[in-house]
Symmetry: C2
DNA sequence: AATATGTAGATTGTTGACAAAATATCGAGA
DNA sequence: TCTCGATATTTTGTCAACAATCTACATATT
């Protein structure tokens, strides 16, 4: 007896509403600082206000929305100093994950990690040479996700994803300059090497360095763009 | 013109309900794995079910309760492998915070940090010599909070607090053996020294080491207690 | 003109009721 | 006795209405 499971993952209306609001925010239909009107959203989405309210509340926990009692919910505005904090937080978690991945690989708990990382880096190199920036972007995310998965720490991964999304929200503009990609790729190689060597400390350091460099690249690009705008 | 502010801090009913449920969990009135009955809680607390529901939903984001659609909310059960993950996560954030604190102190952004840390360590040493374990416990928390505060990263602090609370839930039994306290104190000294020297990398390493040692001490004590139980 | 006050409208906070799903109960048949 | 299945009860999901609070605008006051 076998059948396609129906309704699996189909969850509550509130969860679907949450996903929809989340999409609206990440895709820019709702901009930073904008107020979320419960009634308006409920009409647009065709559910009751209570359901929308529940969705908004659950979003607040992820940092995408700020709640003020009796005043409502607002799309979180990320300041520049917060961006630095987000980078540091992301770096801390990523470094920890790389250390854990190295340990687990060394113990034989992640047998496929080596080939997965090698394949990813190879594809990334190909994307770089072909100057296929969108592919590079996807592969870049995959690289980090591979290591997060290998760390086998779901809560850390959840936090990492939240931080990533909030950062993504801030820097809508791509930061994909050819030289940046080349350097980033080298850093990936260094991380993968340390992890596959099973060296926890080296993995952590390489990961930390990667995020730090990423922040520097971000700041440089942001400054340049700001000058270009002026 | 001056008057006492009224209604400050008084928030919504749902927030108060959340705080109350949180208390019930942390104080053990609701045990791990137990189901949270919305109606029951609403009667006990004298608010409507919807309000309780909102409180429970907001707690889910902090990891204290797990939600299952159409089945309800359950107090999160922390497994042993999760404990290790929590230690690692806490270590990552604490190490990052110590690094940031070192940088900020070096830049003159946290002028009071040096004396605060020195005072804390001195009091801790006094508590150790007097064998006042409860005081030691409070001072230990304060030490970590001082550094988290100096890092000036609110989101990191929020996550740290969540993790800390979840860990606290798991290990009800104290782990305060005299020799442990002495070693822990030495590690604190090392951290403070690195931070006040403004050395980011050394601060991170010292913090990481501290949490790692803490985990080892925890495992040793837990194993010993398990043997004693058998 | 600038500031305070009052009032109407809009929005959030809270509740109770109904619908849908899950769980418990109980009996029939092997 | 045990398993399966129908039924009753409990519990969650969703909604609409009411109450409390905030916001915006008009009016009055200096």
């Amino acid at each position: 007896m076998k059948a396609r499971l129906i309704g699996v993952g189909r969850s509550t209306l509130a969860e679907e509403a949450r996903a929809e609001i989340e999409r609206m925010i990440t895709e820019g239909e709702l901009t930073a600082g904008e107020k979320l009107n419960e009634l308006e959203l409920s009409v647009v989405m065709g559910v009751s206000r209570g359901t929308v309210r529940e969705a908004i509340r659950s979003l607040a926990g992820s940092g995408l929305v700020d709640l003020i009692a009796n005043r409502g919910a607002f799309v979180h505005e990320t300041t520049l100093s917060e961006v630095q904090n987000l980078y540091e937080l992301r770096g801390a978690i990523f470094a920890m994950a790389c250390g854990a991945a190295a340990r687990r690989y060394g113990q034989g708990d992640e047998p496929r990690l080596a080939e997965d990382l090698a394949r990813n880096i190879e594809q990334m190199n190909a994307a770089r040479e072909a100057e296929e920036t969108p592919n590079y972007y996807i592969l870049n995310i995959e690289f980090h996700d591979l290591l997060l998965a290998a760390a086998n720490n779901p809560k850390a991964k959840a936090i990492y994803d939240n931080v990533k999304r909030e950062m993504h929200l801030f820097r809508r503009r791509g930061l994909s300059i050819a030289s940046n990609i080349a350097r980033s790729l080298e850093e990936h190689r260094a991380i993968a090497e340390a992890v596959i060597a099973g060296d926890e400390n080296a993995s952590r350091d390489a990961a930390n360095e990667h995020i730090r460099q990423g922040f520097d690249r971000y700041m440089a690009t942001a400054t340049r763009q700001r000058q270009a705008d002026a």
